[in-house]
């Protein structure tokens, strides 16, 4: 019972509040704030109402005194999908963080990933922006860890799941999902037998935060609680780059996949054993 009284849900917060919650008190400073009205050039002409910040919050501040920039995607706007402006906000912030480091300023980055990937109303500009984001993560990672947080309820899909895979550390909750393709698209492309997009337990069993953590595809598994997530992110920012960057472990994963009998359909337990099981 005490838990219910003292826990504050991170998942229920919007992007701006999540960002504020992670930064040291009084240090939050938003860049290109919504009052500057830098919005999508492409939505109105399609009859889609834009949002003043294009669904992305960029804020600088400090965490435990360290300079940090946070990029947070608002999952409630167009499913957190990235368009030209939102994508440029994230890529540009990461690019400037890398530049900071080249000039001796140890700026780190945190990405709050609540996104379905590319905003289809901006298709190729969204996709190009995501490629820019990938490039900028790899660049910044030369100097500082890049922390990704997938909390839910939208989760992290599409091209931004690749961005999650590029992060130095990934923090997930039980509510989170992390996958390349949305369930409906897989069902559409591969059929109901392959993937039932309405079977929630099935989807979470394969792509949910707990499964990803237990498969070694995420680094921290935390409760949906603001304080715990803030402490986890802070600790990771202090840690420096990981000894083994998961996206650089091709030999390991190719070897494990070679051991897999891919004939039967896959089960969650198989994945956990394959990736996390001990080897002689």
């Amino acid at each position: 019972m005490t838990d219910l009284l003292t826990k504050h849900s991170f998942v229920e917060l919007g992007a701006r509040q999540r960002t504020q919650a992670l930064l040291d008190a009084g240090t939050y400073r938003e860049l290109i704030d919504p009052f500057q009205r830098v919005m999508s050039p492409w939505l109105s002409r399609q009859g889609v109402v834009p949002q003043a910040d294009d669904g992305v919050v960029i804020a600088k501040g400090s965490v435990e005194g360290l300079p940090v920039v946070i990029a947070a995607i608002e999952g409630n706007f167009q499913g957190g999908s990235l368009g030209e402006v939102g994508g440029a906000k994230i890529a540009g912030a990461l690019e400037l963080a890398a530049e900071d480091n080249r000039n001796g300023i140890p700026t780190r980055a945190v990405l709050l990933l609540e996104t379905g990937g590319v905003r289809l109303q901006e298709a190729n500009l969204g996709l190009a922006a995501i490629a820019d984001i990938h490039a900028a993560i790899v660049d910044l990672r030369q100097y500082q860890p890049v922390i990704g947080v997938v909390a839910g309820s939208v989760g992290c899909f599409g091209g931004m799941s690749i961005a999650a895979g590029l992060c130095s550390y990934l923090v997930v909750t039980r509510e989170a999902r992390l996958g390349l393709n949305g369930p409906q698209v897989i069902e559409q492309e591969a059929g109901l037998d392959e993937y039932d997009s309405r079977d929630r337990p099935f989807i979470w069993s394969l792509t949910g935060g707990e499964q990803r953590f237990n498969s070694g595809l995420a680094d921290r598994y935390v409760a949906d609680d603001v304080a715990q997530i803030q402490q986890t992110v802070s600790a990771l920012l202090l840690q420096g780059v990981p000894q083994q960057q998961r996206s650089r472990r091709a030999e390991f994963y190719l070897a494990r996949l070679a051991e897999l009998d891919a004939t039967p359909q896959i089960e969650p337990a198989t994945v956990r054993a394959l990736y996390q099981g001990e080897r002689p």
Partner: protein, 99 residues
């Protein structure tokens, strides 16, 4: 999608500005900024067409109760009910420190 404009008599401009809400389905985003004393202007960009009168009546009811501060209000609406619109406006006024 429609863009609508409204103007109402108002008092003095507030000192602060506020942003409430989000352009989610059934929701709206409201930006409230200080305007010219005596006038409240509202721009509404909405996904629902043909509702100009309903917006006008809703605003008239809200501002009948109390003269609003002089603001420029921008609304980005994605099909919110009048109840949700009122809620967001009230949140906005509270954040601005309207009394």
């Amino acid at each position: 999608m429609e863009t609508l404009s409204f103007e109402f008599p108002a008092g003095q401009p507030p000192t602060g500005r506020a942003l409430v809400g989000c352009v989610g389905s059934g929701d709206l985003e409201v930006l409230l900024e200080p305007g010219i004393a005596g006038t409240l202007t509202i721009q509404v960009q909405t996904s629902v067409n043909g509702a100009e009168q309903r917006w006008r009546h809703l605003f008239e009811r809200i501002f009948q109760e109390q003269t609003p501060p002089a603001l420029n209000i921008d609304i980005h609406d994605f099909g919110a009910t009048p109840g949700v619109v009122r809620l967001r406006l009230e949140q906005g006024f509270e954040e601005i420190g309207h009394d």
